[in-house]
């Protein structure tokens, strides 16, 4: 039954243009931002703002770019739920699968796995682009595939959070605004607080930054947020009229 639901949701997700638009947009945004940051670094070197011989770790250009692009990936994930309410197709879907938790679980599997694979590809490509741009000024450190794998994992978890959020809010604009608060705005909090919010925790895991806590704690914190919001989403989905 789960497999049938996943098959159904997979076909539904990839039969929409918005899916391709969001993911293509995220790809361009992440690569362009990472490349710009690498270029900024080189510009600083050339103009003596930075002492000669300084290097930049590619992940330091890629991670901020991911934070940006995450919003477009979140939009893709969110649309798998909110577009059903906007178009009224949720009524068709729930007629076909009245077990709402199962319907949402299928959406989660499809969108989280798609988002994870997309994040892997995007981060791998952006990392390679940054490495090529920096040339000799790239610092040795985390390999491209390792960073991409971390990105895939954390974006997959973030996707679960977004599905729960969308099930609760139902409206695209509202869900995206909430995503913005959780994934961007919380970065403005004092860093001691920000690291416990999804944005800071995700960034800590992605950059393998152990300054505040072991990087893996960032993954755990994000997963805890995702679990709580997803559970709330399921409760709302089951209780409220479709």
């Amino acid at each position: 039954m789960m497999l049938d639901a996943v098959r159904a949701e997979w076909g539904k997700t990839w039969s929409l243009r918005s899916t391709f638009l969001c993911l293509a947009g995220a790809f361009v945004l992440i690569c362009a931002t990472a490349w710009t940051l690498a270029n900024d670094f080189l510009y600083g070197l050339a103009h003596g703002d930075r002492s000669a011989g300084t290097t930049l770790a590619p992940v330091d250009a890629v991670a901020p770019a991911v934070q940006f692009g995450l919003l477009l990936i979140a939009a893709f994930v969110m649309l798998t739920v909110t577009s059903e309410y906007a178009s009224g197709s949720i009524r068709s879907t729930l007629q076909a699968e009245p077990r709402r938790w199962l319907m949402l679980a299928a959406k989660t599997v499809v969108s989280a796995s798609s988002a994870a694979v997309a994040a892997f590809v995007m981060v791998a490509a952006a990392g390679e682009l940054v490495r090529l741009t920096l040339g000799d000024h790239a610092a040795a450190g985390a390999s491209g595939p390792a960073t991409a794998a971390r990105a895939a994992l954390i974006v997959g978890v973030d996707a679960v959070l977004v599905v729960g959020l969308a099930a609760m809010v139902r409206h695209s604009v509202g869900a995206l605004a909430c995503s913005f608060v959780l994934f961007v705005a919380t970065l403005a909090l004092p860093s001691g607080v920000a690291i416990w919010a999804p944005a800071g925790a995700s960034a800590a895991f992605l950059t393998n930054d152990a300054a505040s806590y072991p990087a893996v704690v960032g993954l755990v914190v994000t997963a805890a947020w995702a679990a709580a919001i997803y559970a709330a989403g399921v409760i709302v989905l089951r209780r409220r009229d479709a």
Binding site: G11, E84, S87, S89, L94, Q95, A96, D241
Partner: protein, 296 residues
């Protein structure tokens, strides 16, 4: 029971819809028709009571599309998806083979546009797609909410024939509509609700029969009007007199004419008003209309 805020939508509605016939589901706007269907399909939750299909709540049906096919009023399709992708998504949930998707597209007359995005569909084509989705699982129970809306003459004929055929095949067919003339032709049985309550559950002909025939009489002299009224009342026929027009509650034109002749009354009009489903229905819902215009 179902309420929206402090407004009661559906209350104590208990009906049993039988297979093998087309049951019309009638009621004025806001009577609770759509809410009832949404409750049956498990989309809305009742505050009290249960809705069961084939003895079980909708949510407990295995592959529900194979048991109940429903088309609700309004769009229930993502405009960015093609008709085929929409149907395919539903089919996969209930493990319905892909060939069946193409079959129902043929059946609904949308095979030629099946690979077009639904956002470009006309209202009539969207209705046909909705009916196609309802028939996807070859269900024994078919619920259609306002299926005639937006259809051209050809489409109306198609739905009418389809409903008849589905009933003849022994399926349970429930059709809500506000088009009474249409329902009089199509439905064998009617369920009428108003303000969320059951008003009638009878055969279509019985509801038509509930409307009283009338004979309309116009006599130019006011004195004659009063005399004729008294004469008819003497024969046990109720008569109303309004703006010089007498309306006798009987279908017998001859009786009224002979009565006037016997009294030596000059008439300008003697006509029979025949009853329709609309009359029977209106009589029933007159006091139940929720959003009635208040005369200025």
């Amino acid at each position: 029971m179902k309420t929206y805020g402090d407004r009661l939508a559906v209350d104590e509605l208990s009906v049993d819809i039988r297979p093998g016939r087309v049951t019309g589901f009638l009621g004025p706007n806001g009577a609770g028709k759509s809410t009832t269907l949404r409750l049956v399909l498990g989309l809305d939750h009742p505050e009290r009571g249960t809705a069961r299909v084939c003895g079980r709540p909708y949510g407990e049906l295995r592959d529900p599309l194979r048991v109940v096919g429903a088309h609700l009023d309004g769009r229930a399709v993502h405009p960015g998806r093609t008709a085929r992708a929409h149907l395919l998504g539903l089919a996969r949930y209930s493990r319905i083979p892909t060939e069946r998707v193409d079959q129902v597209c043929e059946l609904a007359g949308i095979a030629a546009v099946a690979r077009m995005r639904v956002g470009r569909f006309s209202l009539g084509m969207t209705q046909r797609l909705g009916v196609a989705a309802a028939l996807l699982g070859d269900p024994a129970v078919v619920l259609l909410d306002e299926p005639f809306n937006g259809l051209d003459a050809d489409g109306v004929r198609w739905v009418r024939a389809l409903l008849r055929r589905l009933a003849e095949e022994g399926r349970t067919v429930l059709v809500s509509s506000h088009l009474l003339a249409e329902m009089a032709q199509t439905a064998d049985h009617v369920v009428v609700i108003g303000r969320g309550r059951l008003l009638a559950d009878c055969s279509t002909s019985e509801l038509v029969g509930a409307a009283v025939d009338a004979v309309v009489v116009e006599a130019p002299e006011p004195a004659d009007q009063r005399r004729l009224r008294a004469a008819l009342a003497g024969r046990g026929i109720a008569v109303t007199l309004e703006a010089g027009v007498l309306r006798a509650a009987t279908g017998d034109v001859k009786l009224v004419g002979d009565c006037a002749y016997a009294e030596g009354i000059r008439l300008h009009l003697l006509a029979r008003e025949s009853r329709t489903l609309e009359d029977g229905y209106l009589r029933l819902v007159e006091d139940q209309v929720e959003f009635q215009a208040v005369p200025a």
